[in-house]
Symmetry: C2
């Protein structure tokens, strides 16, 4: 295998976004085995936990322990999701290196998801940034604009709202702001248009594309984002985070298929695809009975596949 | 619904490519009901049958009758696949409006699929064109370069072979030459590169993109082809033509998801998505027990969906 500098960063969100969406709670030891396997495959950014009250999300009750373990893996950017200052405090105490804050572009979704208006969430971003500045200035803060491409509660979301919100998050002190297709409503033309608009507003502080595969467009949308300069992509091993075939499913983009697409294109991810596919074993073992998707793992790698070569 | 001129042509291949890949033989009456429903949804090009010996493909024994029925549907381009002059003769007699000839870019696949070398297939193309010129000059002849993006028998396929073969097909008198990812090995960078090279060689005679979803990249590859000017796309209702989850599967791009992608982008297909989804019923009824895929039909159309509007 040819050594290549990664050209894109694949940010694995399965241990947080995926696990908090399934009913079962994965045992902490299983989580750590899975995270180890992801790291061994070359994954260098993982959203490992969510700092929310355990009574709301028992799947995340071990968040601090998971963060502490992840910190022992060399070269890994350890991300925690925090919806508020209290969560940020706990995440910083545990040692998280990056905090990601969900900020809904849809007014209806914001109230439903975090019981706050968009304006109140901006206040929260400012408070989290103040805490970070005081306690842990090395920690990165990322605000992800959820429902950026449409909302199942209110329908369309105005692009101007998305762009303004991203700019307000940066003005509030966030280091980066990315766009999430929380509801699987994005299309490639919209992805290009909206990322271009956001980049025009916040430049290099434009963050990750977080795409869903609800209607099968996940990879096409990632390609569209790549085309307009996005270089960080959230995805979930096995598409964990909602059954892509169920109505209303979230359906994260499958990490394995995303890595296959980029590597086949000659866009280095830094991830060894065969080891990545092997990392499905601890996930499957830790969540018995849960569907684990992925077209590339099912079909197998193409004949003559050589990672690091430009195909085909 | 706003009337819009179609900007892309979706060429439905399910009744040929799909049905000849499943074990069961769909009853002729069911085929006609399905084709009627596709036409009612606005589909204006259908590959309805394959003219091959019935002992080899019993699923296509009723090819002539299916073509004759399809000819009664107004505005429909009726395509038949023909592997040789004998098939072309039968297809022309039945009234097919366009003949599509599979020409493998992979030497190994050519021998396995049609028991002919690539050179012998070019001779066949010339003979079919001669027959067409003599008997039915209004009939179009299309040569589709199969295994254009890689081959499960020989591995990589040289791009120069593909470009030269397409040019030779046009020189042999074919009206168009498209590219097929028969084996699901294509990636978006390769799709752009190869279609650009083919266009440089044969210009406006560049035909359809026929993509498979074997490793989940089907729609991304269609988007890539669209980006470099391709405007005709082969796809199959329900992804019929091989289980996308089985090793070695063909896994055609799902028509419903492809139409959703283009319509969501504001690229008119001329197809009513709700009627298209309704056209799954006769397919499912006619092939009991056969898996029928499609993420968009499973998830449903997004809230606020208005066909003919630019989303979102």
């Amino acid at each position: 295998m040819q050594a290549m500098n990664p050209k894109v960063l694949i940010s694995e969100v399965g241990p947080r976004d995926g696990l908090q969406s399934v009913k079962a709670t994965m045992a902490t030891a299983d989580k750590l085995r899975w995270i180890n396997a992801l790291h061994a495959a070359g994954v260098r950014e993982i959203e490992v936990a969510s700092f929310v009250p355990a009574r709301l999300l028992p799947q995340m009750a071990d968040a601090a322990g998971v963060v502490r373990h992840a910190l022992t893996l060399p070269g890994l950017m350890v991300i925690a999701l925090v919806p508020n200052v209290r969560g940020a405090q706990a995440a910083i105490e545990a040692g998280a290196m990056k905090l990601t804050i969900p900020v809904s572009a849809s007014a209806a979704h914001s109230l439903a998801n975090v019981r706050k208006t968009r304006e109140d969430m901006l206040v929260e971003v400012r408070s989290i940034v103040a805490l970070r500045n005081e306690r842990a200035p090395h920690v990165k803060v990322e605000a992800n604009i959820s429902t950026a491409f449409g909302c199942t509660l209110q329908g369309e979301v105005a692009e101007d709202d998305v762009v303004r919100l991203a700019a307000e998050c940066i003005a509030a002190g966030a280091d980066e702001s990315g766009l999430s297709d929380t509801t699987g409503m994005a299309n490639p033309a919209q992805v290009r248009r909206l990322f271009n608009k956001v980049r025009a507003a916040i430049g290099g502080r434009t963050g990750a594309a977080h795409m869903h595969n609800t209607r099968g467009l996940g990879l096409a949308n990632c390609l569209a984002a790549y085309d307009v300069g996005v270089r960080t992509f959230d995805s979930s091993m096995g598409g964990l985070g909602g059954c892509p075939y169920a109505p209303g499913a979230s359906g994260n983009v499958v990490t394995e298929d995303l890595v296959f697409m980029f590597e086949a294109m000659g866009v280095a991810t830094g991830i060894d695809l065969q080891k990545l596919i092997a990392a499905r074993a601890p996930l499957i073992a830790g969540l018995p009975g849960e569907p684990v998707y992925g077209m590339t793992p099912e079909a197998g790698l193409p004949m003559g596949w050589k990672q690091g070569a430009v195909h085909g």
